[in-house]
């Protein structure tokens, strides 16, 4: 079953033109297919429940064939935003930006200015980690109480986007059972950071989101 899924993934993504927009994959013209295109965002309790984990995935639908040459863009910062007083304005940011094969993390720290432009908060380094090469075991580090990872991972998103598209197009009236995971067999560029909840500026409910920002 897995082999057939791999083949399906290759067929879907490696050969011909494809029309895929889901989760946040390829959601808008300015970012579609580029290195700042966010595909997914996750925030969840760590295996140590004193910790919170943030995941940002970018550049979806990377085939195994294309994976060895996939890379982050040094001009693209990934910024996790945390609002801890309910006004949907970020009070803290965690930034990740690559340089020469290493992903550098900064924060959590108050942004210089909230909103759509940012500077790298170099005065608040969190740590850095070598970007894991394709095919290697994940390289992780712990620094300042935070664990960090950057590199290729299986796309964790699952959705029968093909059938959804058929429904939207009017050529089908319902989902199939079983459905078919359109994202099976494809990879994403992933940034994962796990850190103590005590660094997130409050308890209760946080509003969080991720942004890509380009120089």
């Amino acid at each position: 079953m897995k082999k057939s899924k791999i083949l399906l993934g290759l067929a879907l993504t490696g050969v011909l033109a494809i029309t895929l927009i889901a989760a946040d994959h390829i959601d808008a013209p300015a970012v579609a297919g580029g290195k700042s295109d966010i595909t997914d965002f996750y925030a969840f309790q760590g295996s140590n429940t004193d910790n919170m984990v943030f995941v940002a995935n970018v550049q979806g639908l990377i085939t195994p064939t294309a994976s060895s040459s996939a890379s982050f863009d040094e001009n693209v910062m990934v910024e996790f935003n945390i609002d801890n007083n309910g006004d949907n304005v970020e009070d803290l940011v965690i930034q990740a930006i690559p340089r020469n094969g290493v992903m550098f993390f900064f924060g959590p720290v108050a942004p210089g200015t909230a909103g759509t432009t940012s500077m790298v908060k170099t005065e608040k380094p969190l740590g850095s980690i070598s970007i894991t090469p394709y095919g290697s075991e994940p390289i992780i580090t712990t620094n300042n109480g935070a664990k960090m990872f950057a590199g290729l991972r299986d796309d964790p998103f699952f959705f029968d986007f093909g059938q959804y598209s058929a429904i939207i197009a009017g050529t089908a009236t319902s989902f199939n059972n079983p459905g078919s995971d359109t994202f099976a067999g494809s990879n994403v560029m992933s940034i994962v950071v796990e850190l103590p909840k005590s660094l997130l500026g409050g308890t209760g409910t946080l509003n969080t989101w991720v942004e890509t920002k380009k120089k």
Partner: protein
Amino acid sequence: MKTIKNIVATASILTSILFVGCSDDDSFTSQPIDSQTEIDFSGTYTQQDQMGRPAINTVFVSSGNKDAFNTTTPSAMGASFQSAFQTKLLALNAGYTTNLLGLDAPTFTSVLATDVLNVSTTAPTTFYDGTNVLTGRALGDDVIDVELILIFGGPMAADNPGLTSDNVGSNDKAFLTSFPYLASPW
């Protein structure tokens, strides 16, 4: 459900995507944290993409507004996009009254238009598990089914049964129980 044809434009706007490998940067040096002060991180970085909850831009933002939505700060999204989200919701499901959360169309779309992910620092993480609502998003959460149920399922999650699950309930690879949690690449 022919009214949902209205978002066909969303699905069909992108016709061709070609993935090309770029810089072959295999450099693999481990740099100490001290070096962060020596590397040039200067400059202003301007927003390109934004995401809180899954699939919001994809499903609810009209094709001409997708870039604008991605570059709007969440605090301004509600005022700018709630009305359009409501129109889209009713285009998807003309029979929408309320949903499993008891939210009418204006209330539901007001929540959706501000695209942030609520995360609880105290409760277990789930997008929706029948009890906890939006306490984060775990890797295995079937977020698409939750969203389909809230859009199509009506107040008892019983309406439009063919549209409330895509019948893909889990990822194609098992997640890890420890950091970095995501499965190894294909």
